[in-house]
Symmetry: C2
């Protein structure tokens, strides 16, 4: 990857508005990613989140609420027969957009941190073929790191 234009001197305003910095505000907490993992696995109810993530109820509640505020999860009322109404937590389309992040982390850990692969694998339904995640153009051609460039958006050159 190469830098183009006057990008190399990028203190101040640029670092404050960096997308990574903002993304970290969301996934910076350990628990957030665990909750998201379970949401993608299909978990929707509070106690299932608690059991399957091994988080304490307090932390789970805080992260679920934060993800609801962010718009990644939505609360939907449901009622089990013989129980009072509760809310379950379902992924929104904005939440589903986080899937590449979670998948990229899993794939990377599978490759370099887990000697024999993890207990769970994500595959193509039906064929069972493994799934990976990689950069590509909007038209679908795969891209290598060497094919990429970082450019400064024109609207940011002048305040």
């Amino acid at each position: 990857m190469t830098l183009e234009g006057a990008v190399t001197d990028r203190r101040g305003r640029l670092v404050e508005h960096c997308s990574i910095t903002k993304a970290i505000a969301v996934v910076g907490a350990r628990a957030t990613l665990l909750v998201l993992r379970e949401a993608f696995y299909g978990t929707t109810r509070f106690d299932e989140f608690v059991d399957r993530t091994d988080l304490s109820p307090g932390v789970a509640a805080a992260r679920l609420e934060q993800l609801v505020e962010l718009g990644a999860l939505a609360k939907q009322p449901y009622r089990e027969p013989g129980s009072r109404p509760r809310d379950e937590y379902v992924l929104t389309s904005m939440g589903r957009d986080l899937f590449p992040v979670v998948l990229a982390l899993m794939r990377r850990a599978d490759k370099h941190l887990q000697p024999d692969g993890g207990p769970l694998r994500i595959v193509e339904r039906g064929s069972g073929k493994p799934v990976s995640v990689a950069p590509h153009t909007d038209s679908g051609e795969p891209l290598d790191l060497e094919d990429l460039a970082v450019v400064l958006d024109e609207t940011w050159v002048r305040p």
Copy 2:
């Protein structure tokens, strides 16, 4: 995404060996992702990392060292004329494998957290076309969340 087999009851051993859990040990720290962002942008020297990430020298040193231990960065000695020998930090191939994670975070933040897009954009060199990151099979076909399944690896069914 759907779950297949006896995956729904996955307390204990399974959560401990989850790839996400291991990945969080790496990128769980805010500073690690900022350092990686700069490494992908081409930064190699200590003070450049400090300036461009706005991290304190102590934190930058700790994260750089951790990434070296993990094998994502490698120290390479260099010597500016009129200075003593120093080390610079360059991405290894294992480190480059983290690029989808960083790119996925940037894309997601660009889409949902930055109203007008961030100051820096990653594009295809030459064409200038935008780059995204999405799941696909090893043979290259793009996949939707609905095309995916989570399966339990056979080697984990019996201890």
